[in-house]
Each structure stands twice: as structure tokens, then as C-alpha cells.
Subunit: 740 residues, 2 copies
Amino acid sequence: MTDRAARELVTPQRLREFFAPRSIALVGASDNSGWARFIVASCATAGFAGPLTAVHPRAKGAFGLPVVPSLRDLPEPADLAFILAPPQAVEGVLDDMGAAGIANAVVLASGYREVGEEGRVRQDALLDRAIANGVTVLGPNCLGFVNAHSRSAPYALMLPPPLIAGPVGVALQSGALASVVLAFAKAHAIGLSVLTSMGNEAMMKTADVLAYLVADEEIGDPARFARAAERADRAGKPIVALKAGSSQAGQQAALAHTGSVAGDDAVVGAVLRQLNVIRVTSLEELLTTGAALGYNRWPRGRRMGVLTLSGGSCDIIADAAAAQGVAIPDFSAETEAAIGAHLPPFAAAHNPLDVTAFGTLANLSARKGPLTAVDHALDIAVQDPNLDFVLFSGVVLPEARPPDEEVARTLETRVDWLARRMGSAPIPVIPVGSTCVNVSDYGRELLTRRGLNILGGLDLGMRALGHTLRWLENRGGVRAAPARPAPPSRAWPAGPWSEASWSEASWSEAPWSEAPWSEMGARRLLAEAGVPVVPGGLAGSADEAVEIARKVGLPAALKVCSAQITHKSDIGGVVLALGSEAEVRAGYEKVRAAGLAVPEASVDGVLVTPMRTGGAELLAGVTVDPAFGPMLAVGLGGIWVEVLNDTSLRLLPVDAAEVRRMLGELRGLPLLLGARGARPANLDAVAEAIAGLGEVALSLNSALDGALRALEVNPLWVNGDQVEALDVLVVTEPGTEQAQ
Amino acid sequence: MTDRAARELVTPQRLREFFAPRSIALVGASDNSGWARFIVASCATAGFAGPLTAVHPRAKGAFGLPVVPSLRDLPEPADLAFILAPPQAVEGVLDDMGAAGIANAVVLASGYREVGEEGRVRQDALLDRAIANGVTVLGPNCLGFVNAHSRSAPYALMLPPPLIAGPVGVALQSGALASVVLAFAKAHAIGLSVLTSMGNEAMMKTADVLAYLVADEEIGDPARFARAAERADRAGKPIVALKAGSSQAGQQAALAHTGSVAGDDAVVGAVLRQLNVIRVTSLEELLTTGAALGYNRWPRGRRMGVLTLSGGSCDIIADAAAAQGVAIPDFSAETEAAIGAHLPPFAAAHNPLDVTAFGTLANLSARKGPLTAVDHALDIAVQDPNLDFVLFSGVVLPEARPPDEEVARTLETRVDWLARRMGSAPIPVIPVGSTCVNVSDYGRELLTRRGLNILGGLDLGMRALGHTLRWLENRGGVRAAPARPAPPSRAWPAGPWSEASWSEASWSEAPWSEAPWSEMGARRLLAEAGVPVVPGGLAGSADEAVEIARKVGLPAALKVCSAQITHKSDIGGVVLALGSEAEVRAGYEKVRAAGLAVPEASVDGVLVTPMRTGGAELLAGVTVDPAFGPMLAVGLGGIWVEVLNDTSLRLLPVDAAEVRRMLGELRGLPLLLGARGARPANLDAVAEAIAGLGEVALSLNSALDGALRALEVNPLWVNGDQVEALDVLVVTEPGTEQAQ
């Protein structure tokens, strides 16, 4: 109920109003408030036009603003209240807002969820009070937001002027990073739309801001982020995420300052990839990638033309291109000839092109017109049928307007021409600087007036380009998970599936309460769902074992079958490659005795299956991530998982085509394709079996109301077209395990 | 002879004079020369004090400089001649220099080695003429150099002022990158010593500039770079290299603009690691790493204290630290308590420390003195015994001097205090900015006057820190290779050993001429040098095969032995696991027949060895890189090399301890350590065997005057303490192969 009521307060429609206030009340502002000083300054920097009013019961002045004692005393309701009051006063302010008809609040105060149980209770109370008063809340523990388009900037830290309006929206968990983001954005003339500090996200979540930025009208079920990402992908609005906490230390740091548990990083990485959310590792990459996607037309392919002023730049770009999988094909013969006419005789008109210092020199002579050699090369290269786009590292903007009017006009004419030519070119042109230094005020003015942006250096530029291309190629494949049972409310550790640290040992060490099924039950579950399982039977006597072995074929493998014994090999509960009936008989007795020797284990019998040799072994399993729900992991067995952590992860559901892509991500894939003389595996059959496993896991979890812990096949044996689950493990919450 | 004469002209002593001219003659300068205009401007930017004279046979004026018709007409010899003349005039100018007693020249002209055979001849002639006249030459195809300490800047491109003198020397292959380097250096207040454009390196090589920067008095044998690097390491002068051409496309680009062949990138990478040369992939990383090493005291370990103004910075730093293997330990209890006293009650005094916006606010109030919370934290943290160094992200410098004198003085007092405290702190303090944006002119002034530098953002800063730590840890282990036979002069393709693309197929595709030895000869070579080889003998009949098998033990493996048959399995020339004498007899006939069926192959007999099973298989081989000489590659066999490219490379010679480290670099190492229940391998025994192999390769190559092409053991079998070469291949130049 609370949840649904809260969600109605953070629809894109509500947030559109929230982030564009025309009047703001600063509750708790006085001349003594450093926070208020910052907000007033930020609003001035942004050019906020509407009234700013201080609200304080006792203060005489507040930086020259009009002061009223309470929100109820405002001449008319403000669009937004920025609450600077201490935590114990916030709920009263929310009541005032309800009475005064003010719908939107930013809550600055700390002392909520980030300080433990007491704070959590306070935060719940705040949320309830906000809902009761119909107030949309950003925060608490939040510094506010900036909207460069509507020129409102209720932000409680220094903003470096000027604020440039543009295509990039930013939602920050750490509000103090805003000034850093703005500094980099300014340095590289990257225009922002909305920048928010998210704080504790008591009501408004990052997913809501995303949905608003994507201009989506509807936010549905619990997987809000996934839904927002799916819609963003469909709408062609790329999301770039800097998710901190990939390290253990990072997770602790995140915990300390946001009070929220950072998810297992490998799971987060897999989910973001699946949602086609671009993941970056630095602020610089975040903003440069935003700029690459926000300012430029998008390439249709990976064939890049490169135009530069130096051979060194060509080399660096070529290396970065190889790292990003971007091709630098030869120019067509026509292009080479036409560009060659603009170069000195010793320079080669090859892709990547270095027009040499000649290009720079030519710019000095106004007699030749405003265009330099690299500009002529651009004019020609955009017509080349061999190219999908052009990377243009040919503009160096001066520190200030050149004092010589003719020089200045020549430069400005050149930039005009470039903007026009880039607009009219048949393929996208992506301008990039030679290194990551600030664009001057004059340069920024030249660019922003023409809607241009120059990416901040070859390294960042090429990384941003790589992200852009991957994002474009992955578009259309995002499918958010359907509604699923809410995860249990108690805190769980990160699941044992992790690309970084998967090991079999994780299972036995998992500290939550769990109950494994007997293997016969687990086998039946899979087989009934049509997942291929190695034939076999449960023997209660040596005679039965021989009979089953005769039926399934020798040589046979025998395993003790007991829900209480998970590591059967360790206790001698497995014998392999029994070639004769006598061996089967002896094996039965050995395995049974080993099982009976385990205290408190109830032995169901001995599982008899045929031995499978040759081919390859995979591992396929589902575990339930506390944040994202059931996740599928696929890997090659043995060393590939244990030594190389070579696994691929996905949120369920996935279809066979997606599993096929997962297999393609494995480093060990060549083994399945027939490396070392092995028989090539039928990957479609493998994918079908694993997709079936995923479906079984989802249905079981749903039938058990979210009590599934793990469903694992290890190994999943494949030999050519033959695919079989050789060992199956199902673990559910105690009390939900299937009786044998 | 030419080589030795040239080397005497580029000793560190000569280069010291070369790079600090007090007078410069610009040969070919006139009012029409754009290049001369740049040089005059660059000298002005640098504050060059000495006379600049134009030398031109006909010109009336040259930007107001005095003009003389020839170098012979100068009133006194200039320290340096910057030759702007076209290629056909350069040799005459060198004669004029000899006559006038001018010892140093920069040659700008293009049209030398970079344009093919004709240019190569012209470049040789230039070198001869320079030597004949006793002239040290930088270039040709070179833009000059900048010496910020001596304030001389004969550089033929625009230099962005101001030029900051400092600890970082830069040698650039691409001269046009100089302005980019200077722009980034200026943006981050990184002071330079000497910056050179290297051009075609006809006489002066990058290694010579390194030797000069390291202040080394002696340059010896052909492995000049390695020697310079070894001395640099010993002298504590780190070298940072941005080596372009890691991609195939990059190699083509490098070829196009420098006329020199870029080496196989994996080999270059291995050599640089071995020489403890830091390798970076971007200009920004190059300069930031230089600044990290040049401005800061060096950490003694990896335990880092982190002090920041935002939780977001803490998260980003923690992730980057994990990626770099840097620890962020807990503060001591004393540190926590002492820092806690400077924080608001809700803030936690943990490492990494976020002093929260409180730290920023406190700075506004001069009443509290100039120090902010983060400064107090610094004062305390540097005493913490748990830390090896402190990363300090606590200074934000303003765009300009604050107009309020008191605010300005407070800030400047604070920076003074920080400089002093960093100087007096028991552990190094490394300042880092929050993001990669320019330091303002005012900020740069504040920093440089106090010898401080702030690394350009968290991402670059942490990468630079990682490089710093690895460099420090690897110091002392650099051993340059001894003199080796000069490589053949013909151009070779990159060797087949490559971490990126090694495959067995490379051997057969290698296009140079080569001759494999018969396996018996290769086995004998190793065995005589004490490298363990699996026992075996050459059988000329089935009876002999049986006799040998009886001696070495069954089951046996049989291989046809012929120098002409390298891929024996493919033609049916190998049979394995022969368990009885009858099987050996049949195997002999089969293998021999297979060998005889190969046209033009001369079959020496059939090699009979015992089968080895269990344990693990490695690959160890030596190939000869055209640039660096004999290289050792070590990897795990089978999929590890073929699918995963899991190899480690080194320049020879290496000792067993170094081979032990190579084994440690393999991703598959756990397999050798006993993963999956295997017997742990005696790594010392493995390392001994491989080091022996390296010695054999070096002696053989030396004995054959550099005619070794490859020496490979694949597999090298290891099972516990037992190590044996199961298959040995030796390839030398035709005519040098050992007769059977």
C-alpha cells in the first residue's frame, strides 16, 4: 500500500514538475546557514528566475531573501520546498507542506537509514508522512538537483559556473560528486539536462529518475530499474552507469556512506549488460560517453575513417581502435586521390590520415581560405563508401579569441563550415581532442553555439566510442524480467554465483538456511520438464544395481543417494567405470557402506547410471540473487570454473538464443567447437537444455513462493548431439524440499 | 665503424651540451618560413636569452632576426644549427658547420628513411656527412626540442605558454604530439625537463636521450635501450613508455609515419616489463605517471590511507585500488579517535575517509583557522602505523585568486601548511584531484612555487599510483642482456611467439628460410647440456624397437624420426600407449611406413620412448626476435596455449628464479600447484629445466653466429618431481642444421 502510494508520487509526470520549479522555499534558511548560502549561490549560477523565499520561525535575515515564519505563511504555495531543517523537524514541515499545498520537497538532513536501525525507523516515518501529505520527496541525506534547461538549481554545494544546458542527464548517489561532474562537464563543454543527488532514496529512486529522463509514462512492477532500462533501450536513450563497489573495499565504502547494500558486483555487471546499460569505471568515462552519445549522430557500423594532425595520434587511435574492435579500413582509391591533392607530396593519404604539420601551417594563411588540409580531407572522406563514420581530430581551439580580427574570423568561419559539413555529411563525424584538457571559455562558446562537442582526448574518446558501438549493437535485445515473488526481507549475502569467485565450496559455506533435495527428486524435476537427464535408477540392493546397470548399459557409475550427503566423492560415495556385473555388485556395497557411515544421513539407495566419457562437461545453475532474483550461470566444468572463473551470467528468464550467446562469451568456447580434435558440440541442443533448466527453476521458485535457493546441473555432459545432466542438485528453503 | 663514430657523438656529455644551446642559428629562415616563425615564437615562449640568427643566402629579413648568408659568416660559432633547408641542401650545411666549428644540428627536412629506399640512401649519406664533420644530429624529419630548465626551445610548432620546468623528461617519436603533451602538462602543472621530437633517429636514438636523462656516462653495446633501462632502474630514474603499434593497424600507422618497423607487441611488452619500464596506453597516463613519480616521495608499501571530501570519491578510489592491488586497511584506533574529533557526529572516521560536505563548509569560516577537517585528518593519518602512504583528495583550487583578501590569504596559508606537512610527514602524501580538469593559472602558481603537483583525477591518479608501486617493487631485478650477435640485416616478420597469437601453425607458416634438425640431434643437444629428456632410442628395425621399449619400459610411444617431417601426427607418424611387444612391433611398421610415404623425406628411424601419463604438460621454447634477440616463452600445453594464449615471455638470459616468476604469471598455475586433485609439480625442478633450455639456446645461437631460429620443447612433461622433455624441436638457418 505504502509502496503503491509512493509510486504514484514519482511518476514521470510528477517528476517533470518536480525538476522544474518556478518558485522555491528554503525551509530552515538563515544568515547562519552555510547550506542556504550554497543554494542561493547555485540558483544564481543557474540564472533561476523565480522567487526564492526563506522559511524560518525566528531568523531575521537570510542572504537578503524574504523570510516567512512557516510554509503556511507564504503568499502562494512554492513549487518546491528545500528542507534544511534537522531530522526531528522534518515531519512537521511535511505537514505544513500538506496544509500549504506544496507538492515537492528536497530533504537535506542526515541521520536516516545510513545510521542504522533507529534511522531506518525515522526514514519509514518520513515516507509515511510524505505520502499522507501527498508530497514527492527527494532524499533524505541529499544535496538537491540542477536542471540546466529550466535554469533551476536548488543545490547545496558550490556549482562552478557557467551551467551548460545539453543532452546528458546525471543521477548521483554521492551528492558531493556533483561539483566534480560539473567541473568536468564544463571543461569539455558537455551540456547537462538534469543532475540529481539521490541521497537515501526513501521515495524517489534512481529508476524513477531514469524513467522520467526516458520520458516514460508508466512505472510498473518491482523490477523498476530493469523496466526503465528496457524502455530506455527501446526509446534510444542510452543509460551510462558508474557503479562503484566492484571491490570488497568499495562495497564497504558504499555501505558506510549510503546505508544501502551494494550488490555482488559480477551479478550487477551481468544485469547491466543484459539491460544494455553501459558500464564505465570513471567519472571522466561516464561523461565523455554521455557526450559521445548525446551530441553525435550514431555510427551504423565499425568502419572508421581517422583524420588527424599527427602520426602519433594515428598510432594511438589505431591501438585504441584495435582494443575496441573498431576497423580502420583503407580509403577508397577516389578518396585517396582526392585527399592527396591537398597534401604535400611526401605525405601519404592513407587511413588513418596524418595531414602532417602542413595541415597546421596551412591554417595560418588566410589567403588559402578558412579551411585547412584536414578539413578538405573531412569533406572528402565522409563520401567514402568504405566508412561508417569519421573520427575527426583536426580542431585545436585557442585559449581566447585571437586578437587579430581576420585570424579570429577565419577560425570562426572554419568552425561554422565544420558544423555545417558535419550536419550534411552522409555519415556521422565524431570530433575528438588530442588530449584531455579543458576547452577554453572562448572554445566552449564556439562549440555550444553550434551544438558541437569535442570528446576529451583520444583515450577517453575511443573508450566512449567503443561503448557507443556496443550499445548500438546490443539495442533491441533487452527484456526486463516479469514480475516475480518479492525477495525475502531478511538480508542475504551475495549469492555464490560470481564470475569473480565461483567455487564449488561456496555451496557448503552458504550461511543461509537451506535444504538440498535428494538427487532422485531433483532428477525427476528436470526430466518431467523435458530437460535431458542421464538414464538411471535407484537401487536398493546389489541385484537391483546389476539389473539397472544391465538396462542402462555398462560401464556404470554408482552414487550414494541421500539428501544429507552433498559431497559424495569426499566420503567415498561414488564409484566410476564399473565394467562388469561383478564390479557393479562390489561397487554397490562400497558406496552403500560409505553412505551408511555418515552419521545422521538417511540413505535412499544407490543411483546407477551409465558412465559418460569423451565430450565436454559444462556447469549450468540457477541461484537467487537477493536484489535481482533468479540468475542463471553457465560455464565449462572443472578448471574452467574453478581456476579460470570462466562463467557467463544472466537474469532469468532467458530463451535458448540468449543461452547460445552466453556460451559464446565463454573463453573456453573453442573446446565446445571442437578444439584439440574433440567432437564439436551441438550448441543449440546445449542451449535448449540450459534454457529448459532456467524455466524449471523459475516455475519451481514461483510454485514455492520464492523459496528456491539453487538448482544446479554439474556436470552437464555434451558429446556431439548428445546432452545429458549427469548430476542434479536442488536446494530450497527448509520445509519446502520435496520428500523422496 | 660508422656506428662507433656515431656513438661518440651522442654520449650523455655531448647531449648535455646539445640540449642546452646558448646561441642558435636558423638555417633557411626567412620571412616566408612558417617553420622559422614557430621556432622564433617557441624560443620567446621559453624565454630563450641567447642570440637567434637567421642564415639564408638571399633572404632580406626573417622576423627581425639578424641574417647572414652562410653559417661560415656568423661572428662566432652558434651552439646549435636548426636546419630548415630542403633535403638536397642539408649535406652542404653540414659541411658549413664543420668549417664553422658548429657541433650540433637539428634537421627538420622530410624525405629520408620514411619514404623508402631512395630516402634510406639519402639518410645514410646524411649520417656519414655529419660524422665527417663531427656534428651531432637530431632528426631528420624532426621538429626539435624544448629544454625548460635551460630555457631553450628550438621547436618548430606552437608551444602553449607558460613552459613549466620540472622533473619529467619526454622523448617523442611523433613531434606533432609535443603541443599535446605540453597542453596536458600545463593543464596539470606538470613540469618538464627536456622534451624532444626524435624524428627518424639517423644518429641520436631514444636510448641515447634516455641515457642522457639518466645522466649515465657510458653507452655500450647494441642493446643500448636495455642498458639505459638497467642503469635507469639502478639510479632510481623511472622510464615510462607509450609504445604505439600494439595493434596490426597501429603497426601500419607507425610504419607509415616513422619508417621504422614496430616490433611484435607482445615481445615489446615482455621486454619492457623485464626492463622495469612502465608501459602506458595513453598520453594522459604517460604524463600523470611521470608526475606521480617525479613530484612525490615514493611509497614503501601498498597500504593506503584515503582522505576525501565525498563518499563517491571513496567508492571510486576503493574500486580502483582493488584493481591495482592496493590495500585500504583500517585506521588505527588512535587515528580513528583523533580524526573523529574533527568530524560531525554522524560521520564515520573510517579509511577510506569521507569528511563529508562538512569539510568543505568548515573551509568557509576563517574563524576556525586556515585548516579544514580533511587537513586535520591528514595531519593525523600520516602518523598511522597501519599506512605506507596517504592519497589526499582534499584540495580544490579556485579559478582565480579570491577577490576577498582574507579568503585568499586563508587559502594560501592552507596550501603553505599542506606543503610543509607533506614534507615533514613520516610517510608520503600523494595529492590527487577529483577529476581530470585543468588547474587554473592561479592554482598552478600556488602549486609550482611550492613544488607540489596534484594528479589529474582519480582514474589517472590511481593508475599512475599502480604503475609507481609496480615499478618500485620490480626495482633491482633488471639485467640487460649481454652483447649478442647482431641480427641479420634483412627484414623479418615478427616471431611466432606472441602472447596474443601463439599457435603451432605459426611454425609451418613462418616465411623465413629455416631448417629443422632431426629429433635425435635435438634431444642429444639438450641431454648433453643437462636438460632432462625422456629416455629413448632410435630403432632401425622392429626388433630394435622392441629392445629399446623393453629397456625404457612399457607402455611405449613411437614416432617417426625425420628432419623433413615436423607434423608427425598429421601423417600417422606417431603411435601411443603400446602396451605389449607385439603392439610395439606393429607400431614400428605403421610409423615407418607413414614416414616413407612422405615424398622427399629422409627417415632416420623410429624413436621409441616410454609413455608418460598423468601430471601436466608445459611448453617451453626459444625464438629469436629480430629486434631484441632470443626470447623464451613458457606456457601450459594444449588448450592453455592454443585457446587461452596463456604464455609468459622473457628476453634471454634468465636464471631459474626468473623462470619461477614466469610460471607464476601463468593463469593456469593452479593446475601445476595441484588443482583438481593432481600431484603438485616441483616448480623448482621445472624452472631448472627451462632455464637450462634457455642456456642451450643462447650457446647454440652464439656458436652458430646468430643462426638459431627456434628451440622448442613441447611438451615438457612434469609429474611431481619428475620433469622430462617429451618432444624437442631445433630449427636453425639452412646450412647450419646438425647432420643426424
